[in-house]
Every structure is written in structure tokens, then in C-alpha cells.
Symmetry: C2
Subunit: 202 residues, 2 copies
């Protein structure tokens, strides 16, 4: 109703900007805006600074294409990491999830997406060229394709396997099946089909 | 694991700051941080600017204590509003909700909280002094107490009624009962009790 007159209001303006973030609706945006009004000024300035400088401070690692502050990210610089294994992932969050699992000590390669022809994302939109260059350098023995086990992720994995195998590298795919700790009764049909098909000898 | 080394990372720093907002967990914060990395630079700068300047730009209306950009808010300045009725609310969001309903044309008064002795919030922490001053000025005939119908909101309403009635002002309370469009079957016990007790003649 008085929307037009409210645009001048700094709180309305802030919450309209916050509402453009993914998963933040109008009400949540207003709640966040009000919490910023009430928050410690030092924190609010630090947040504004961190947001304002994020584009200037972040770039893509020239090796693995992950987001980082330097020319080469800390993982790619780490001499303790196994350089013969590359885990290919679609986005930076996936690297964090795998790091949290704490069992992978090789290097990563971030594609920044998966093949999705319907959304106009083909091989040229992904960081595949960079991956081929790394593999061609000869140090890599295995590429673990860890895209999500859905239609686009599986298609991307198959595409990469076709591309990488001729380069003499072993291409593997992360396993799919029932979640550990989950109940078989509640597993969805597709997962159960995959879990049965990929059964292994005990 | 590599948390300590990640603090240098601007993305980790940004998402740690975002995670301090209410209702934003670590994963959501990282998702928001990454969405800012990918967002239009113009938008990101506007957001940083809006956050950074919110404290400097906002103040409390000297009449109704609502948050606004000026000395007196647009509602209190609006000559078309009915100055004889004041709707007393606990927070700015409640004013927005009532505005959306589009049936109230009087003025507001924002308490910025409700009485909550367990959290150390007594009358001195709320904008009650300012409300008394407005009422004492003599223009107000009715104060509608529209705090939420829970323990603290009801207690605040009773407290205000005691305080305001001697000033010769009519004090009313917004109605409680079944939500319009809701199902009686699913109403909670307390609401149903209130709906029965407050039944009105047809």
C-alpha cells in the first residue's frame, strides 16, 4: 500500500536488498534487517566490509579453480597432499563437505556447475579445459568424479569419463546407495535400486 | 579441521559473519556467501552500502518511537491519519503487519519489547514514558493494545491498561480466537478456550 513511500526508508531498502538473496523471503529479510539495526555497530561494519570487498578479495585458484584469496589455493600449495588423485566436484561447497569427512587427502578440481543442456550449460561453461590440462601434465593417476548422483551429475560424470580415460587416467565415481545410519524402509525407490545394483561381496 | 587456516579466507570470514545473523546457520551462511560471490557486483556493493549505513540512517521517530529516517516518521506526519487512536505494538514488524491489513488509519506507538521480568525487561526498558507523554497531551481517545496474545504480551497489555485508564483514555485489546480461514479441529486448546470465552452475540 505505502510501498512507494517506503522506498525512501533505509530499513525497507536494506530488507529489499536482503530479500534478493537466495532462500530469503520478504519477512526473513525484514527480520534480518531489524536484527542489523539492533546489532553491535562494530559487527555491522565488519559485515558490510566483508560483503563489499568479497569480489575484490576472491579469485579462482589457477590450479583447481576453487575460490580462494591467492593465485594458488592453500590445498594446491600443500606439499602434504597426494597430487596423484584429483576429486572432481561441481561447486566449492562440495569441497567443504568432503573436507569435513576428513578421509580425502588428494587435490580437488571445481567444475563450477554440471552439464545441464536445458539451462544452456554445456562443457564450455564448466572448468573442463583446466581439468584436461592438469591431467595432461601427467602427475594424476586417478580422477574421482564426485558430482551429485542425479541426472545432471551422472551425465557430467559419464562425459568426463569419456574425455579422461583416453589420457590414461583411472576415472572413478563416488558410490551411491543407502545413507549410513538411514532406514531401508524410508529409502526412495531410485536409491534402493542403485543400492541393490551396486551391491558388493561381503 | 582446517578451520584455523581458513580464517584468512575472505569467503570463510564473510560466511562466519553472516552466520551470526538470527536464523542463519553455518550452511545457509556459506550458501549466502557463495551467492554473493556469484552475484552482480553492483548489487553486492549496494547491499554492503545499505548494511554499513543502516545505523547512521535510522533513528527513532520522536513521536511514535518507530524506526525511521527522519525526526518524525511519515505516519506521524500524515495529516490524513486519525490522531485520536493509537495502536500500541511491541516491534516495528507488527506495524508493518497491521499496515498490510489496511484497516487501521490511526497512529502507532512502538514499545520495542514487552514486559518480560525473566529476561530483565521491565517498564523502564520499554517506550512507555513516551506513550504516557503522548496520551497526557490530550488528543488521544483510544489506545488499542496490540501486543501478541501470549503471556508477556497479555501482561504488558494489563500493565498498560492500569497505567492509561486513569488518564481518561479508552484502552482496548485486539481480539484473540480462531484464525480466519482456519479449521476448528486443528486449533490449539488455549486458542479455543479464548475463542469460547470471548464469544459474541450474533
Amino acid at each position: 500500500m505505502n510501498r512507494a513511500s517506503d522506498v525512501r526508508n533505509p530499513l525497507q531498502r536494506l530488507s529489499a536488498l536482503l530479500a534478493r538473496l537466495p532462500g530469503i523471503g520478504e519477512k526473513t529479510a525484514m527480520r534480518l534487517g531489524l536484527s542489523l539495526v539492533r546489532a553491535d555497530p562494530e559487527y555491522v561494519q565488519a559485515l558490510a566490509e566483508a560483503i563489499g570487498s568479497i569480489h575484490a578479495q576472491l579469485r579462482f585458484c589457477s590450479v583447481c579453480c576453487d575460490l580462494c584469496a591467492d593465485e594458488v589455493c592453500e590445498r594446491c600449495r600443500d606439499p602434504k597432499r597426494d597430487r596423484s588423485t584429483i576429486c572432481v566436484i561441481s561447486q566449492p561447497q562440495d569441497r567443504m563437505a568432503i573436507d569435513r569427512a576428513g578421509v580425502f587427502h588428494g587435490l580437488y578440481h571445481v567444475l563450477h556447475g554440471v552439464l545441464d543442456p536445458l539451462s544452456g550449460i554445456g562443457p564450455a561453461e564448466l572448468r573442463i579445459e583446466e581439468l584436461l590440462r592438469r591431467i595432461a601434465a601427467g602427475e594424476v593417476h586417478e580422477a574421482i568424479v564426485a558430482t551429485s548422483p542425479n541426472v545432471e551429475g551422472d551425465a557430467t560424470a559419464l562425459y568426463l569419463a569419456k574425455l579422461l580415460r583416453p589420457l590414461g587416467v583411472r576415472v572413478t565415481r563416488i558410490a551411491s546407495g543407502l545413507a549410513v545410519g538411514g532406514e531401508l524402509e524410508y529409502a526412495d525407490m531410485n536409491t534402493l535400486q542403485r543400492a541393490l545394483a551396486d551391491r558388493r561381496a561381503l
